[in-house]
């Protein structure tokens, strides 16, 4: 027994030794900045012009909700995130089901569907900027010059609604592959016996999908849902590259406002407060997603 306990202690020590580098990294680059940022959020601190932070309590948090632009960015971010969430989850699920049911050249299709994920989102945004451009863009060229439907050419990025739609479509295009793969993994995790039994009982494809497959993907919804929520709420590159927040702040999102306050205006205290407000929103919505998709009796 003593020998066993001694071996266990050695193993435990070795385990700690191996986790030490990772732990140091996490403390140095995640825990310490997190708490420093939390401290700054309660201070008035312009890191270029101020010698040191000055404690001001909750003033930054109060000012955030009195800041019309910040409140607008919350609304824009939620609009984007909800639209993106719905589109990517539905399209991802449909694509995964198609791949699941129509086997054959599925490796080729999987590759094609997954390829956009390897394109950096900022690069994708630059490409789509050229596609959606009003006077020299590919989309208007195809509509106007190829199909001769000039009446349908449009300023896709200079209209408030279509600008947001363009950003959602770029982000969905970029994310679809990853979500599809996650759903596909979930589908392949469903026991073949259940599907076989459903087939024997006379269930059609649609019935099988809605009554057997979708309910059994609950755990997958948790993972894909959290991923989509995070990607939606933390959106930054596409609106910065494609619209710069225009027209008239219609596509200005929270991350842009936080970045501007931190690195353009150097107001680190205020920006830290904005960052924590975003964190609370992200955590709250993630928690709701988790609760909705938790199975009863788990």
């Amino acid at each position: 027994m003593t020998k066993l306990r001694s071996k266990a202690r050695v193993k435990a020590r070795m385990g700690m030794f191996f986790t030490l580098p990772g732990l140091i990294f996490v403390i140095a680059f995640m825990i310490y900045p997190l708490f420093t940022s939390l401290y700054y959020s309660f201070t008035n601190y312009n890191y270029v012009y101020d010698v040191k932070p000055i404690f001001n309590g909750f003033q930054n948090y109060i000012a955030a909700f009195q800041d019309e632009t910040f409140v607008l960015t919350i609304k824009n971010t939620l609009v984007f995130a909800s639209t993106f969430f719905v589109s990517v989850m539905i399209l991802g699920l449909v694509t995964a089901l198609l791949l699941f049911y129509f086997k054959g050249k599925d490796n080729l299709y999987k590759t094609l569907i997954f390829m956009p994920i390897v394109v950096p989102l900022s690069l994708a945004a630059i490409l789509f900027n050229w596609i959606f451009a009003e006077n020299f863009g590919l989309l208007n060229f195809i509509i106007g010059d190829v199909f001769k439907l000039t009446q349908f050419t449009y300023g896709w990025l200079t209209n408030r609604v279509t600008a947001m739609g363009a950003i959602v479509s770029v982000t969905t295009w970029s994310s679809l592959g990853f979500i599809t793969i996650l759903f596909l993994a979930g589908l392949q995790g469903i026991s073949g016996d259940i599907l076989e039994a459903a087939k024997i009982d006379g269930a059609g494809t649609i019935g099988t999908i809605f009554k057997i497959i979708l309910p059994n993907l609950r755990e997958t919804y948790v993972i894909t849902g959290i991923w989509a929520i995070l990607r939606g709420l933390k959106i930054y590159a596409p609106p910065v590259v494609m619209t710069g927040g225009a027209p008239g702040n219609a596509t200005r999102v929270m991350y842009m406002h936080i970045y501007d306050n931190a690195f353009e205006f150097f107001e680190m205290g205020y920006a830290s407060a904005l960052g924590f407000i975003l964190s609370v929103i992200v955590l709250s919505i993630s928690f709701v997603n988790l609760k909705i998709n938790s199975s009863k009796g788990d």
Partner: protein, 436 residues
């Protein structure tokens, strides 16, 4: 236990090997002497600055002339990288000896903590062929913080109207000499744009005018037209930007009329390069942007088919001047070498004439305009001479971010003119004007 100690031994050996590999080999006496006499000069800039200011070529020429010097060039992805150099500079260290920046408004952040050199007081830069008279005034002004010269200008640009001559000819807007007519008022500018606009199937296929209305650069267009209209951008106190006046109201009113009728394009709301690209694609007749864009337009349309003219008021009141220049951090060990490189190469003929002829970036020194090929540079120099730089307010970045959405919302009809003027003026008043 044995296994544990064996593992610790392996880790110890590996760690020792890593440290040994990283340790510097002690140089021989000859090597030491060579290292001590060879100096290194480190310069950094944005990628486009390094390319368009011919930094690589300048470095090669300098190293050829000075074999004891190594010039190392690096690029930074975006301006906040340079802002973070302040951390090193405040500790007496620096990863660079020369940094190319946009101008005094950017450099101002380093001034309160004394992190960069005043070229006049600290380095006595303006001597001999490099006296202040030898520079374009707008360039020098763009490098001054509270009247002190912290940035040496390398290139300058000024806002003007780039014109597609062929479209003007088709619209019958030429004078007796066959040159494009210059609109004298904003109403005339709108009338010209209306004549130059072509539609097909209810859609605009040739835009009359495109104006720099992007989130990134609209502030420049606003300051340019304000100065052109009034000869000054400030109110009676000489500090606060003045938008609440009849001249600026008229400009906004005409802009909105142009947008409502599809005569002025909104493409630059979302892409500050869209106007330039449309000009190059032969889709726009007049582009109100940096005057140097005519060189880029000439690349696709033919240089004989593009020209430059002042926007209404610019020829008398001036425009907005900006550009790029260099700063030297006080923590550099080679300030004299840095100054030598700036004078010999960056302000030398090779860089100053190539940058204007190939990329449309005007020289900051007057004598190099003789080497500028196109006659349009004389037009732009005259405008630049009357132009002013952006205010070096502590809070000017807030104006740059918050003014464009206001004007865009007005042009889209979401807010009325008076609300726009009131909000713009209140924004101007609210800015912290220290450091000016």
């Amino acid at each position: 236990m044995k296994k544990f100690f064996a593992l610790m031994l392996v880790v110890l050996i590996l760690s020792t090997s890593v440290f040994a590999a990283g340790a510097q080999e002690t140089p021989s006496a000859d090597q030491k002497t060579s290292a001590e006499t060879k100096q290194t000069l480190r310069i950094t800039g944005l990628s486009w600055q390094v390319q368009k200011i011919f930094i690589q070529q300048a470095a090669e020429a300098f190293m050829k002339d000075h074999p004891d010097v190594t010039v190392e060039i690096s690029t930074y992805a975006e301006p906040s990288v340079v802002a973070n150099y302040a951390i090193d500079w405040s500790r007496g260290k620096t990863p660079v000896d020369i940094a190319i920046v946009s101008g005094a408004q950017f450099a101002a952040q380093f001034v309160p903590k004394g992190l960069i050199y005043d070229f006049d007081k600290d380095l006595n830069f303006f001597t001999g062929d490099f006296s202040k008279d030898a520079f374009v005034n707008a360039g020098l002004e763009n490098g001054q913080v509270a009247g002190q010269q912290y940035v040496i200008p390398l290139i300058i640009e000024t806002y003007a109207v780039v014109v597609n001559k062929q479209m003007f000819k088709e619209a019958g807007l030429l004078d007796r000499n066959g040159d494009p007519l210059t609109p004298k008022t904003w109403e005339e500018f709108y009338q010209f744009a209306k004549k130059l606009t072509k539609t097909s199937g209810g859609q605009v296929v040739q835009q009359g005018a495109s104006i720099q209305w992007s989130s990134v650069n609209m502030y420049a267009a606003l300051l340019a037209v304000l100065r052109g209209a009034r000869g000054d951008i400030y109110g009676p106190d000489g500090l606060t930007l003045a938008f609440d006046n009849p001249e600026f109201r008229e400009i906004l009113r005409v802009w909105k009329k142009g947008v409502d009728e599809g005569v002025f394009s909104k493409e630059m709301y979302v892409d500050n390069m869209a106007g330039r690209n449309s000009l190059m694609a032969g889709k726009v007749a007049m582009l109100l942007d940096s005057g140097g864009r005519f060189i880029e337009g000439g690349q696709t349309l033919g240089i004989e088919n593009v020209t430059v003219m002042p926007f209404p008021g610019a020829d008398t009141g001036g425009s907005f001047g900006f550009g790029a220049g260099v700063i030297i951090p006080k923590s550099t060990e080679v300030p004299e070498l840095a100054m030598q490189f700036i004078k010999e190469q960056l302000l030398g003929e090779m860089v100053q004439t190539n940058t204007v002829n190939q990329y449309g970036k005007m020289p900051s020194m007057l004598r190099h305009y003789d080497g500028a090929d196109a006659p349009e540079w004389q037009v732009l120099k005259q405008i630049a001479d009357k132009s002013g730089a952006i205010p070096t307010y502590k809070d000017f970045a807030k104006f740059q971010k918050e003014a464009p959405p206001l004007v865009q919302n007005y042009l889209d009809g979401r807010i009325d003119l008076e609300t726009t003027i009131t909000r713009l003026q209140n924004l101007a008043i609210s800015l912290d004007k220290s450091l000016i």
